[in-house]
Structure formats: C-alpha cells, structure tokens
Symmetry: C2
Subunit: 293 residues, 2 copies
C-alpha cells in the first residue's frame, strides 16, 4: 500500500527555507544531499538546483535528469545512469499517478528559482520517462514533469519581465510540444486507422481509434522531427510497446524484440509513407543500449 | 488537411467584446447564436454563456454539454442529443488534438465569466467525451476541457476572493479528479498486470504495464465511485474499447459487444475482486442507449 507521506507536505506553496536541513526538518524532502527522495513505491520529492546540464526548467513544466554517473567535483557525466533506486522510483510515479513535490534551490541561471535558499513549489505529475544520450555522450534518464493545475499558482506567475512589465501579465515560455494536428490526421487516414504493427483496428461509436506515434520522441532531449517520416499509426498497446522499449524497428522495417533482437513480424507499410532510417536507428540505439546494461 | 483557422484567433487572451456580433467580426467565433462553431474536421470555438444546467465551469477546467434537444424558450432538455454536426466535431477535437477557443459570456452565477459582454479566454484541449444522462433524464453529451498551460493565465487568476484577499494569491477550486493511487496500484497487482478482457500482459524494461479503468467514470456528470468494485485492470486497447462504448459488461460478468449485445468472452475475475453490478449496469445503459438512436 502507498503511505500517506506522498503529496501535500503540509507547508504552503511558496514556503522558503534557508538550508537543505530546514527543508528536511519541515518534512518536505527527506534527504539533505540527494536531489531525489523516497523510493517505495515511488519518489516523494525532488530538489532542482541546477546541477545537471541536461535539465530544462520551464516553471510549470520540467525536463528532469535522473541521478548518478556524475563526477562529484566537476559535475560532468562520466558514466551511464542505471535504472534502479530513485531513477526507477520516478518511473513508478508516472505509472502509479503519484505526484512528486518539487523544491527549487537558488540558481542565478534559472528564472524560476528563488533568489536565495529553497522554495517549495507544489506537486508535479511525472508524465514521461525515456532513456536518452546526454550532452556528454553517456546514458541519462529523462523525466517530463507537469505541475498539477489545481494548486495555487507558482511564485513566478505575475513576475514582471522585460518584455511585459505590467503586473499580473506574463508571456510565459511556450513550452508545450505542439504536434501538428494535420500530421496526426494524415498518418491515421493513410493507414485507415489500422495499427502498423499488429493490424488491429478499433472501431468505436465516435469513429475509428488509432494513435499517431513518434518513433524518435519530440521535445527534450530527443528533438525528433514532427514529420510523417517519424510517425507510425499504432493501436494503444503497440504504442506503449514502442514508447517503452519493448519493440524496436529494424532498418529493413521489421518489428523486433528490443531485449533479444528477434524479428517478430514485418511492419505494415504503405508506398506513400516513407519512414526515415535515422529515426528507427535512434529509437533502437536508445532502447537496446538500456537493456544491455 | 486542417485549415489554419484553428487555434490562436489573433486577439489577445482577455480581449472583451460587447456583443456576439463583435466576437464574430473579430474572427474568434464564427456563429452569432450557436454555442459551438466549426465542424470540419473539428470544432473551432465555443461560447459558454450558462445556458446548460449540466455545464460546470471551473476556470482552467470545463465540463461542457453538447448542443441540441432543448426547448428554445424554457431552456429545458426535452429530447436526446444526437452525435452529429457540432457534437461530433468536438469529439474530433479530442481525437485529433485540436484545441478549441473558449469565449465566456457574462453570467452572474459563474465566477469565471466576465462582468459584461464576452471575453476570449484562450485555447482548451478536449480531453474527454462521454454520453450521459442529463438532469432532465434525456441523453446529453459531455466534454471535458482543460486549458492549455502555456498561455497567459486566465483573467480570473489573481482575483481576490473572500477567503484570501491578498492580490496574486487565489485558492483555486480543486477541480482535478483525484484517483487514489493506492487503488490504482492494488487493482494492477491483484490481477498481475494482466488485462481482464484480453488476458494481455505488457512487460516493459520499466516494469509491467496495465491501466486501471473505472467502469462508471469518475467526475461530472457520472460521479462513479473511486473503489475496487468500480475498477478493472485492462490493457490500453481494451481500456479504449470500454471507455468508448465498443464493449460492455453483463451482470454475469461476460464481455459483450455494445452494438449487438453478442457475448464475446468472459471477464477474467478474481475472488478477491468484487465488481458492483450497479456500475456495469450504468456503463451498459449509457453506451447501448447511444447506439440505438
């Protein structure tokens, strides 16, 4: 069972602490050094303090790097991250729908960080996880976090900016990954809403259902293209299998097991739908590497 | 292909208009009377003006009723709504990921409405659709809309309230449907992450994947209970089939086609998991009624 120590820590959003020890004593983040706290069944809280060059903080949305593999003094990534302990726990936040508390530490390079000390900024849902190649060439884990809407706004809402100094109005960074809806429609119509892996077609009273799946993910840190050559028309089950590294696609467009490389079937293709070998190669690299460690 | 007339209408968020004609002339909502505008391939915009008793406006989140079936003078629902035209279009917004523009009209009973005239409040995603029984006993369609986060905040953010008059701080209505994560974990573990309809189990490098599906949906207007007796452990494909009215469950816990009532298989059950006949009955009522019209 899940303990009640998840969720609201009992301090107000925006509460500021001078030290990590104070954050600990207030019951917000139960570790005085690590960036992630809590492992069972999921992570309880994270502290963002600007240590990882692969992090990206957008206020209501965070791209967060897992822990491990860094040289303590230089902060450089010198080894691959491993999918265990806190890194595994953050995946369970996604799968169990358990939010993490987010604490931001002072960081002059981050406009969403407090000017000094540490600030509790509310609960965020982990909506995405993926292995990726970090800037230093080693394996890192990337988590995509979105702030729960039904909380008091973050301390940064209403800050005047140079672009727009009127109080209460701020042109926020456009952080949402905008998928082109025309491509979503086109890939489904091209394949008649039939899954390119299993051949499944789901007909519902409100029309046929299929999903447009990006082979190389959009957005940080993958930056895959939003193009037909990076899209597949899939049923939800095979979308999960592709996105979570159960299946990979070979350069010959065969569907293979990521774990064993065994070819399971041929991808259902269409002459009007060219698939870029570079994006299936990226997807294979990211997921087969993970399993070999 | 999707025309460019979707999305940002080119007027700033918070822009106020005196009349529906002005909203039309500004290119925001291309109908001077109907609440929904645009049909192909999806709806372009909606105007919320308090006409439907089944609507629920929470600012960043809206439960919106489809059109039709109302007596023009009394506003009472006197017939079933039909899944065509604008009602169908709003389903396509969900499936194609096309946001709708939201305009609010003055309504003294709605704290999120402007004091007078009409206000453009930004883009919302349609994240849910379901038939339901309206308060008057007739079939209505319900849409669940969430405001896109990466826009200027709504005009209501920062409004002082009686509970908290400090500017810039507002205790927003807690609108998110909070599913108990312990139940989500429990239903999956009870069934070993195996789909109760197809028997599918999806093993991934980050653990087995299954979904906890509510038979009678949570939240407006269904208000199903968040309880094991209202949950199934399903694979994503069968979750879609259950939620979108392809499959229903009989009182004998057989899986049947909603369209033909033909029994297709038996639900995979567990003696430690009692399923409430009332919730499968509600689900059957909602979806089989829809198909008979």
């Amino acid at each position: 069972m899940i303990e009640s120590r998840f969720g609201d820590p009992g301090v107000p959003i925006g509460a500021v602490f001078r030290t990590r020890q104070e954050v600990y004593d207030a019951g917000v983040h139960f570790h005085t050094q690590a960036g992630i706290a809590g492992t069972h069944p999921a992570a309880q809280s994270i502290v963002i303090s600007g240590g990882y060059s692969d992090d990206l903080d957008l206020g209501d949305e965070i791209f967060y790097t897992g822990y491990g593999g860094r040289e303590p003094n230089s902060g450089l990534q010198v080894a691959d991250q491993v999918l265990q302990s806190w890194n595994w726990a953050l995946v369970q936040n996604r799968d169990l729908g358990i939010p993490v508390r987010v604490v931001r530490g002072a960081d002059p390079s981050n406009r969403y960080a407090p000017p000094s000390g540490y600030r509790y900024d509310g609960l965020y849902d982990v909506i995405g996880f993926s292995p990726a190649e970090g800037g230093d060439g080693f394996r890192i884990f990337h988590y995509h976090l979105i702030r729960r809407p039904s909380q008091e706004p973050g301390a940064w809402v209403g800050f005047p900016t140079s672009e727009n100094a009127a109080p209460g109005r701020i042109p926020r960074v456009v952080s949402r990954i905008d998928r082109d809806p025309a491509l979503v429609e086109a890939i489904k119509e091209l394949h008649g809403y039939r899954c390119q892996i299993s051949g499944t077609k789901i007909d519902t009273p409100s029309g046929p259902y299929a999903e447009a799946a990006h082979i190389r993910p959009l957005g940080r840190p993958h930056d895959g293209p939003d193009a037909l050559s990076n899209l597949l028309c899939l049923c939800p089950n095979d979308h999960i299998r592709l996105d979570r590294g159960v299946l990979v696609i070979t350069d010959d467009l065969e569907v293979a097991s990521a774990a064993s490389s065994e070819v399971l079937s041929s991808l259902i293709t269409d002459e009007d739908h060219w698939i870029d070998p570079k994006v299936v190669g990226y997807h294979r690299f990211v997921w087969t590497e993970l399993l070999q460690r």
